[in-house]
Symmetry: C3
Subunit: 263 residues, 3 copies
């Protein structure tokens, strides 16, 4: 019997992992609710005085630079050091990293800290792979397919699993690749959707030794819940609560039919 995302979801629900999130102010509440609804336990802890200590207690760390500042970047560094020393996986979400020189420089340093997974939209991954992108702010200006080659290259260069999320997600460890369909056109109209997916990826990293499969499973759960919520919602406002309800209601069996295309 081969692995499916259902196995990872079952393992994640059993572990109910404590996920240490350093994320932006916009995303914090939504990301925490996504983790709780999915079955994990979130904790937002950022200050340098304790971020390293806390990372060692948690099962995984996620770092998102959406609303960065020097004090927070110092906290990120301490948390990453703590996570690495304790052998914990960590996820980098380089929000709009190309937008300003400051953001570029911080991202360069974070990428050098050996993230287990890098998750971004197509514009972010293209720019991180050294290619031109149509991105300007935090919203993607490029389709996922355009970033597949950049994602594979970035995975090879950094050793990280790279996830490019959009209409059909793509995840790769450089060699293996998977495409995950699903979701809803309303998802890009809810702020912090990508940031919340980064947090959920952290939860799945606690499920086993293979970050490629863990990431694919997180994307599959997100897409399946998004599809369900899209049918229940009247617009982006009612989508968010419906999405949390769907994450909570999803069972591993619901992921057996998840359209994960491995290649």
């Amino acid at each position: 019997m081969t692995w499916t995302p259902a196995d990872s979801l079952a393992a994640m629900r059993t572990a109910a992992p404590l996920v240490h999130c350093i994320t932006n102010y916009v995303a914090m509440n939504y990301a925490a609710n996504v983790l709780l609804a999915a079955g994990a336990s979130p904790a937002m802890v950022h200050t340098p005085e304790e971020a390293g200590d806390f990372a060692a207690i948690a099962a995984a760390l996620t770092v998102n630079i959406g609303t960065l500042s020097p004090h927070w970047v110092e906290g990120m560094s301490r948390a990453i050091a703590g996570a690495r020393a304790a052998g914990r996986p960590w996820v980098l979400d380089p929000v709009a990293h190309f937008a300003t020189p400051y953001r570029q420089e911080v991202t360069r340093r974070l990428v050098a800290e050996a993230p287990t997974v890098i998750r971004g939209n197509a514009s972010e991954i293209l720019a991180l792979g050294g290619e031109g992108s149509a991105g300007k702010g935090v919203d993607a200006g490029d389709p996922v397919e355009a970033a597949e080659a950049a994602a594979r290259r970035l995975a090879h260069e950094t050793g990280a699993v790279v996830a490019v999320t959009g209409e059909v997600d793509f995840v790769t460890d450089g060699d293996r690749g998977a495409r995950i369909a699903g979701g809803s056109p309303l998802m890009p109209l809810v702020t912090a959707t990508g940031c919340a997916l980064t947090a959920l990826t952290g939860a799945f990293l606690a499920t086993g030794p293979d970050p490629f499969r863990a990431t694919a499973a997180a994307l599959a759960m997100f897409a399946a819940a998004g599809d369900r919520a899209g049918h229940a919602a009247q617009g982006p406002g009612s989508f968010a609560p419906a999405f949390l309800d769907a994450l909570h209601a999803l069972s591993p069996a619901d992921l057996n039919a998840a359209p994960v295309d491995m290649s």
Copy 2:
């Protein structure tokens, strides 16, 4: 054919402007979701290291002092300088500026930086116009009508369009004035409603050369969506998602009947 708010909404939807928001921690998520639902693209960027660079990329800047601190005020100053140097409009939201000496002093400096629009509740605009107000915290203690004269005077003194929002909104550039009815009595029971309107005003400022019309259009869209959501909601909790749904569903044609009373 004369201008109506419908024209501005059509132009805003076409431009889908990137709006740089420096707003308070309470409002960030809601303001971003309001912008996305309405058709714009939000970005929250505050640190002095990049706020000036980012303001030049965005189509408009909005500054809200709700949860201010020296680090953020420095970021606001850099962002305003960046926006002005790039010829971008900016909106000031002087939340409870009369409440403490620190807040008063910061507001004095921000008003001197030539905001394109100042939006506040009646208590805030009265106090900014040098008159006594019944305001104490962030909620208005005065009716909009009581602040009309102060708003006109403030517009003349500062060169800004001034919007006083409440049961019936009032907007003026000192000479022209408009009253916008609509909305719902549930709106003051949802936190950050005014802050989100400030963000939406930023989006409309990208629609044309007349900030008075742009602001009136933002208020008209907000009031029309609020009216719709008020009829769909069971209380303040269900109002917020219904409001985002309504912003998303509103078409320019829906604003043709907007009760904007120009005078």
Copy 3:
């Protein structure tokens, strides 16, 4: 006629008290919406430059250490000093205080500042009372009953009313005790539920001279609204808006039947 939570709710609605909250980034929006829906007026003000001034204007102060940092801790100290000098009650919410040495040290200093009420989950109150707990992150790992003795001892030691919240809440001033049933199993799946209850407790402290009754009334209102919302919701996502609707709809009469068991 004896006191019931209904009396406190009626008094709180009449006073519509301004509650000064210094809370974590995750909770801010939800806590503000809980206060507005319940009938109070929230204000989030944290910077040392104004936190002391603002505390003297407000009717009560609440301090939550969820996402603490030195700058915020300094603001908490100034706010507490301002509140105490003005004779205002204040509530301490020591989120996951046992998790790191930094958090432990800050909590020790805050507890020494004579909080009127301390509210936490069972793991937090057990650890604060010097006992071992099963808590790791922000979610409770212990049942409320296990913390009753620690709560009474902590109340005696500090002079504070101590509230332990969970499936059935317990509140004590050291001598008197009350158990409050109700709520919904969905509540722990909504982030910042406890933080929002801390804010609501601040609102009720403005209702009369007895912080034990005020706290019991806040817990009773929260439990009653939670019970109602639990029946209306499909999951944790739809619970949050339903809960705010229920807080808004609850009348004092609805609390007459509140299962408050005094002992």
